[in-house]
Amino acid sequence: MDTFVQQLINGLTIGSIYALIALGYTMVYGILRLINFAHGDIYMVGAYAGFMIATSLGFAANPSALAFGVTLLGSMAIAAAIGMAIERFAYRPVRKFSKMTTLITAIGMSLLIEYLFVFIFSGTPRSFPQLLPNENITLFGNATISTSQILIFVVSILLMVVLQYIIFKTKVGKAMRAVSFNINSAKLMGINTDFVIAFTFALGSALAAAGGVLTAQYNPKIEPLMGIMTGLKAFVAAVLGGIGNIPGAVLGGLLIGAAETLVVGYGSYIGIPSTYRDAVAFAILILVLLIRPAGLLGSNVQEKV
């Protein structure tokens, strides 16, 4: 029992990270019908931004909660700015063409970011400084949870609540919902759609960056290609929950994280080796696309052709 709980905690920890990244995929898709493939790399950019802040301000030597807060918010701000810049200079100019053009631009953008970072920082894995003390708390029996895991849960829940507030209680959130409902009508109603789209990118990128910094506290190895696999899984999570659907992204993220870890923990009993954890995420994607293309929480909207 305690082993199962332990595996669940492990799974939900990475699930929370997937959820944070999936939110960015899903919001951008909701508004632009674009899969922003560079989003996984923004997660990596966020981790590097946090790394630069933490090392340049000397937080590695004297870690504190304040240092963590500054690193987290700083990296979120930097990632938001980069997200907006990518939207402004890469996606906006091609938005008027077909969706495929934007999609391919996104893939190009993803490669550009990855190898730009390889070029600047080299592919050497860097170790992210520990900013908060990491201790183990025994829950019961053998089940333990580390403070860095608690941090991931708390911060990601907090960010999701803030996101929910922005989307449902603020004016810009209302505008986002309007744009996602129908971008042309929204424009006719006097909504500055360019601003709303830029804001969405900023919001999604900030969440991904938070995911990057949180992961780096849990698993301090950061490297320029770390966003590829994690980004893909978050994308699967967004599709699983129903792309365009915000609670769906969170649910999808947690499910993928849990499924992955449970495969490692218990897969061998049903003949699935533990190294198939990545395959499981994609098997789930294929099943979802076959059985319920709209995702778990997505509504089946008829597309006009």
Binding site: T3, G123, T124, P125
Partner: protein, 439 residues
Amino acid sequence: MTRVFLNFALILSIFTSIACVDKGGNVATTNTGDTIKVGVYGDLTGQTSSFGQSTKNGIELAVEEINNGGGVNGKKIQLVVEDDQGRPEQAKTVVSKLINQDKVQAILGEVASTNSLAAAPVAQEAKIPMITPSSTNPKVTEVGDYISRVCFIDPFQGSVMAKFAANTLKAKTAAILGDVNSDYSKGLTQFFEEEFTKLGGRVLAKEAYTQTDPDFKGQLTKIRNLNPDVIYIPGYYGQVGIIAKQARELDMNMPLLGGDGWDSPELWKLGGAALKNTYISNHYSAENPAPEIQNFVRAYKAKFNVEPDSLAALAYDAAKVLADAIKRAGGTDSAKLKDAINSTSNFAGVTGLITIDSGRNAVKPAVVLELDPAAAKFKFKETIAPEGAGSTTGTAANSNSMMSNSNTNAMTNSNMSTSNSNMNSSANMNKSVNTNSNR
């Protein structure tokens, strides 16, 4: 429509993840008349780039010394260095480039066995001798007679750790956590298990991870349930540091064992205090007071300002062995050079006496090092000699000068022996080295 679109998007995204960028190498243009071109390939920017950097440094130091000493047969050695980003397919590409475009006469590299295995057939086919400094998987030199190495191989390395676990740590049970995509790791897993079982131990679980796994707690939690005496983790430094950290987070405080893949200055930053109570097998100890080793350590530190790890030492030896073979072959005729390399015998390297055997492997003793995270140092623990090797290889620079006579005798008598360093002399050695190195 959406479905097709998403499928397409997924396929594209998979392509992006496997797409690769050729970074090109630094090729100096000179007249090839009075230089010997030697190709070096390694991971300079990828997941295991500390291996590639150390290897490059070690080779550069050796070549600098050779060229300052008048070169080989009056010719200077010119290096052509290529980055393979730690990817097997890229390793193959850059070795083709080294051979076909740069027309190198010999090749040094890689560290990771998977990459050496990818590139070796290219060198073999082109009949260009390739010496791998530190790929320990046995399959590497089985590719052909143009491929050789200056390090020991995994059947030995795996058995060293199994012996250490069973004899020194008195472990009865073990779990293995290996890297599923690495030939190095798979080989060590197999050989550790064989030897450990032979010594009466039991391997309770064999778990695996991939280098891109976001965390390892799933596998570790599974292992924790079985409560083994030791965990053997034959992986590379980028993952094992995190694995150690997460194991300790799960209250798993048993000794963790590893191989030479752990040897990197980066390991300390990744694993930190969690690396207490861990041991690795390695090719040499920088703490060994033998003058050959200390001269190398000093020269390396003066040039690169870091302590040489075992990969740097092996790379240095590989370059020296190559230069020696070129001298003996009287030139770079590839068949003669190959024969000269393969007949290397009792070459005194930093990592011990190097004799290339019929399988084109070097037979050398291994050292077991204990990790000391507080000082960020690998502390010498003991030397384990290879099977069947008597005192001829055992008394190389690598074997410890403090090894007592009775131990040396024991080694010649039993063909498998462990020479336990006695604690006092080991402590003395640490002290004397600490005063030398201000790190």
